[in-house]
């Protein structure tokens, strides 16, 4: 059994999770502080990929990144790089699809942050950077971790947009989800079942991790409310 799809899926999910970790957190941080109207508008735009069909996301990406489309053509001309049909093209698809998951969970965590901690920190002379990394992030740790794990799980399962932008080339762009589809199409039930089981196993572990993190978050919130009461 060729394990390339597993390795490919993991690296695509891993890389896009790292990228989205930072982008998601920073957009969540700034949008949580934005005025209500701005927040409402940005929220709709940034959450859209979560509810759009993945094929629509794939279509939009192809319209932008395809070799004859504005961004794709520019990269081809100046860097001689094709943005589609490579294994890393899938990263475009997964980052767009998982961004809302990271962004929303991180924003929820930031909004639950007790701002008086930041105010007190500032008044004793702590820099904003120090407050962000040493006080705000640890405080929101669990929510952010849960978002990261959830984003990773979703990236691992991405099919629609991925198959449109990377296609299916065995040993090249194949991921677990595109492989399962291909095996089903060619009536290779035995191998398809193996991949399905692998996928279920990974997803279960990930969800278990999310649940454990959420329980700890709830306990923290409960402890906090009790202390305040």
């Amino acid at each position: 059994m060729d394990l390339y799809p597993l390795w490919n899926s993991l690296r695509i999910a891993g890389i896009s999770t790292v990228i989205i970790f930072f982008i998601g957190i920073f957009s969540a941080y700034y949008i949580a502080k934005a005025p209500r109207f701005v927040k409402g508008v940005l929220d709709v735009i940034l959450t859209l990929p979560l509810v759009l069909p993945p094929t629509v996301v794939g279509y939009i990406l192809l319209r932008l990144l395809g070799p004859r489309r504005p961004i794709g053509a520019w990269f081809l001309e100046y860097f001689d790089i094709r943005l589609t049909m490579t294994w890393w093209s899938s990263i475009f698809a997964t980052t767009v699809v998982i961004f809302p998951l990271m962004y929303r969970t991180a924003r929820g965590a930031f909004e639950a942050f007790d701002e008086t901690l930041a105010y007190s920190g500032k008044s004793i002379g702590l820099s904003n950077t120090y407050i962000f990394w040493r006080i705000r992030m640890p405080y929101c740790r669990q929510g952010i971790l849960a978002g990261t794990v959830l984003a990773f799980a979703r990236a691992l399962g991405e099919y629609g947009a991925t198959s449109m932008i990377s296609g299916y080339t065995p040993g090249h762009t194949a991921t677990i989800s595109t492989t399962v589809y291909q095996l089903w199409r060619t009536n290779n039930d035995a191998l398809a079942t193996k991949w399905v089981l692998i996928n279920i196993a990974i997803s279960s572990v990930v969800l278990l991790a999310v649940n454990m993190l959420e329980r700890r978050t709830q306990e923290n919130v409960a402890a906090k409310t009790m202390k305040e009461a």
């Binding site: 500032k122 008044s123 305040e228």
Partner: protein, 352 residues
């Protein structure tokens, strides 16, 4: 004056407009919640930016809208303490206090800073709690940690926002003594925000009563309590019985809410408010002046006293007066109808 504040800030329909000065003393901002007292502290600390005005602490201009000065909170050296103490939950007591010395991390050696941390922890009796997380501390220990963290950061003013409201009542009294010592030791301006008049009276030198974004009465604490000058200040300094009044042609005063006509030698306007403290009312037997016969509506038993709700005999729809007296006295006077005196010295007459 070591602190001068004159600021204005509009926030939705709320309009904050405060102006006050204080020397090296304890100034209390007394007011109901939402009156703008916490906002005032946040403006001084640089967390909220006023629309207009000027803030000076220890001859340093922290904010001046005309000269475009607005120092960042980090360099203002204003020791702001919140009612929840805002200890960093992921850091232990030692780390929390150490954070208060980070401002000097480039100008002082680590050893010097550590010595400062150790000294302040010793002063506050926190050495044995160094490794405890804030969640493992009692309310009093949290407060001490918060004060230590602030004092180690060398503030030029202390801003205390409801410092005792998160504590159980039996702890309050003891911690008040601790805070009083801290403030005396500190020796510079302290602004204390509170809605508790007893606390304010015990801890401060000067009181500013706030209502709806403005300071309605300001002065020496004894003076403010003796003569609150406005109805709002009267309520906040403990006048529980307050009625509207109008002057009658014969010079007497009709307290319309109470349904009583009173005599007073005090200067009065055509109309205004009249008040009396619950323990300002006294037994009227054998007295002269404003003595009335009241029906006892209700007896409320407190741990060490009684509060008796009174209504003038023959009236039914007037606002009752509360009379507070010792248990022994009420046991002696107890009756369905009582004669009481609202003596002129106890009456507070206000224009508005």
């Amino acid at each position: 004056m070591s602190v001068q504040v004159d600021i204005e800030k509009k926030l939705g329909s709320f309009h904050l407009r405060v102006k006050f000065e204080a020397g090296d003393e304890v100034l209390a901002l007394l007011g109901a919640s939402g009156c703008g007292k916490s906002m005032t502290l946040k403006c001084i600390a640089g967390i909220v930016k006023p629309d207009r005005g000027r803030i000076v602490v220890d001859d340093e201009v922290l904010f001046d809208s005309e000269k475009n000065i607005n120092l960042s909170p980090q360099v203002r050296h204003t020791g702001l303490m919140f009612q929840n103490y805002a200890l960093f939950p992921n850091m232990n007591v030692l780390e929390n206090i150490r954070a208060g010395t980070r401002r000097e991390r480039k100008t002082e050696s680590n050893a010097t800073r550590e010595a400062r941390v150790k000294k302040v922890m010793e002063t506050f009796g926190l050495l044995s709690l160094a490794r405890h997380l804030p969640s493992q501390l009692s309310g009093g220990q949290q407060q001490r940690t918060a004060l230590a963290r602030i004092l180690v950061s060398r503030p030029s003013i202390l801003l205390l926002d409801e410092p005792f409201s998160a504590l159980d009542s039996h702890l309050r009294f003891r911690l008040e003594q601790e805070v009083r010592e801290v403030m005396e030791e500190f020796g510079k301006s302290v602004i204390l925000v509170s809605h508790n008049r007893d606390e304010v009276y015990r801890l401060s030198d000067k009181i500013a009563v706030m209502d709806n974004g403005r300071i309605v009465t300001c002065g020496d604490k004894k003076d403010v309590f003796h003569n609150p000058r406005t109805r709002h200040a009267a309520i906040l300094t403990g006048y529980k019985n307050i009625s509207k009044y109008r002057m009658l042609p014969d010079g007497r005063i009709e307290a319309t809410d109470w349904g009583l006509t009173l005599e007073s030698s005090q200067k009065t306007s055509k109309e205004g408010y009249i008040g009396i403290r619950m323990h300002g009312i006294s037994d009227g037997e054998g007295q002269e002046g404003n003595v009335f016969l009241f029906n006892v509506l209700e007896e409320l038993e407190n741990p060490f006293s009684f509060t008796i709700m009174l209504q003038p005999d023959g009236k039914t729809d007037t606002r009752p007066l509360g009379w507070e007296l010792t248990k022994e006295e009420w046991h002696r006077l107890r009756a369905p109808k009582v004669k009481v005196l609202l003596s002129d010295e106890e009456l507070l007459i206000l224009d508005h």
